[in-house]
Symmetry: C2
Subunit: 309 residues, 2 copies
């Protein structure tokens, strides 16, 4: 029943003088996704963005930007290298490549160090790890000139581990529906006016993409009891949103621990579940572009069960 | 500067009708240790126990029991399999084989599952993991009939991560002495009357074995700034010891987080450093023999530094 929910992620901005990425043929994206060992399941579009649900997570394409997340044993670095080579390295304005700490890292076909060794052959950049190796940690590579992209650009990622409570229980049942999960997560209220596209996986798992103008959110749920993981990511400015979206999702999913990664975005820690911030880190990648990392844990001690092997 | 301090450990009890293990030639132990990719550095003995300091940790030999710990990229499972085959599987009364979660697991030449796959070909037993995969966790395999060993047998392991404070600072200096470390750790007071044997490693690292009658303690320090680790282990009954030994060592070394593993031993959490028990677990291996695991973290949030790669 184990599935590695933790994602690799790339965000790539290209020269605004280039033709729109959305004009590229579907075959381009099918190939890009297949290089990561994933498939396109479905697609929604609006006037600014194409959002693809993948067999392992999501791809969002704007005129001059892509965001791709892939989980499991996917090989996202192969997609990224091919994308850069196809577009031409000179046309890449700005790039981030991330890996979140995996539950079972040794099953992956490459390490982050392996990945950036190949990436650095085509683009220069800076790589670092935030968080200790024996706890939650994240690897981030950044390349390019951030001054060329919008200063207003912000992204927030909330990564939740070991979810519990009634919604977590529902997500582990055999009879689920997309509409019920959508309602339980209160997405109608949290993301009013967003078009969405969702998928239920067999035996378990739920993915959703939502878009509105140039805004997106994406949620991927791996509910498996012993290794549950939920990622939530958005470029909605959470500090200027009417609901405290991150806090609501944390209260609904009740993870034992969670990490918040913000790019030009500091998200206040929620009150519920009662928690402690075990570690935090803020650092500028370039002038005016900051990365924030915080690692939280529920305050109430957990009674652990031995896992017989 | 990275060194993997986390140990693999085996404790093996043999039939009391067998000849004393201490009568085996030195070549037997040299071979056993070399199979784990380690060397014997020095030895102390008393009337009940031979204690060897190894290039990667320690070996203790009693008449009918051995305890061996090896760190780094050592291959302890090869020593254990060879030991069992040399003595004869029928002569093994009771065995535990453990692996503590490593900082960089993918550098190891085998996983715990690989190890017990070979071990189960010669002895039957039960394997389990305590602690979540995305946090501190420990693998424990047990085999044999615990009713045949002393009900009074207890062992306590305290595993400390990210040490800080003046003693940690001293352990990272170039000019160190064994006597100064011995004094800083207050071992004269904590283990009064114990004979000891210690070693300073280049560039950094400290190991000590202490014995008194059939009692032992062993401390291994990997002080490297980004991945520091200290293991303390003893069969002294900490609950009937005049000093609160575990609490004293935690107050001296001020780790950010630590795990306590007790075999028939429950160790009270210390007050200093101020901490929270994030998770705990108790389970019986066999009637009357219990394993306790607790994972602690300092209460004060840590300001993390990005680690540039």
């Amino acid at each position: 029943m184990f599935f590695e929910g933790s994602e690799k992620k790339a965000e790539i901005w290209i020269e605004p003088s280039m033709a729109s990425l959305r004009a590229l043929p579907q075959s381009f994206w099918i190939k890009m996704v297949s290089l990561a060992k994933a498939d396109i399941l479905s697609q929604i579009s609006n006037d600014q963005c194409d959002a693809y649900l993948l067999s392992e997570s999501s791809l969002f394409v704007w005129d001059h930007k892509v965001v791709i997340l892939t989980c499991g044993l996917s090989t996202l670095i192969d997609s990224v290298n091919d994308f850069i080579n196809s577009l031409g390295t000179d046309n890449i304005l700005f790039l981030t490549y991330q890996r979140k700490n995996e539950y079972v890292a040794h099953l992956q076909s490459s390490t982050f160090i392996d990945d950036i060794t190949t990436l650095k052959q085509i683009v220069s950049g800076t790589a670092c790890r935030v968080g200790h190796l024996d706890n939650h940690h994240h690897y981030i590579f950044t390349s390019g000139d951030v001054s060329l992209i919008s200063a207003q650009d912000n992204t927030c990622e909330v990564l939740m581990y070991h979810i519990s409570g009634v919604v977590a229980d529902y997500l582990r049942t055999e009879q689920q529906s997309i509409s019920k999960i959508y309602a339980l997560l209160q997405l109608d209220e949290l993301f009013a006016g967003f078009t969405y596209d969702a998928h239920l996986f067999t035996p378990l798992g739920f993915s959703i993409n939502g878009i509105k103008d140039d805004l997106y959110y994406t949620i991927h749920i791996t509910p498996q009891e012993k290794s549950s993981y939920v990622s939530f990511e958005t470029n909605v400015d959470l500090n200027h949103s009417p609901s405290n979206i991150a806090a609501k999702l944390l209260a609904i999913l009740q993870p034992r621990s969670w990490d918040i990664i913000g790019f030009n975005s500091v998200v206040a820690g929620p009150n519920m579940p009662e928690n402690i911030c075990l570690g935090h880190c803020s650092y500028p990648v370039k002038q005016g572009y900051n990365i924030h990392f915080s690692h939280y844990q529920q305050l109430c001690p957990e009674v652990l069960s031995p896992e017989f092997l």
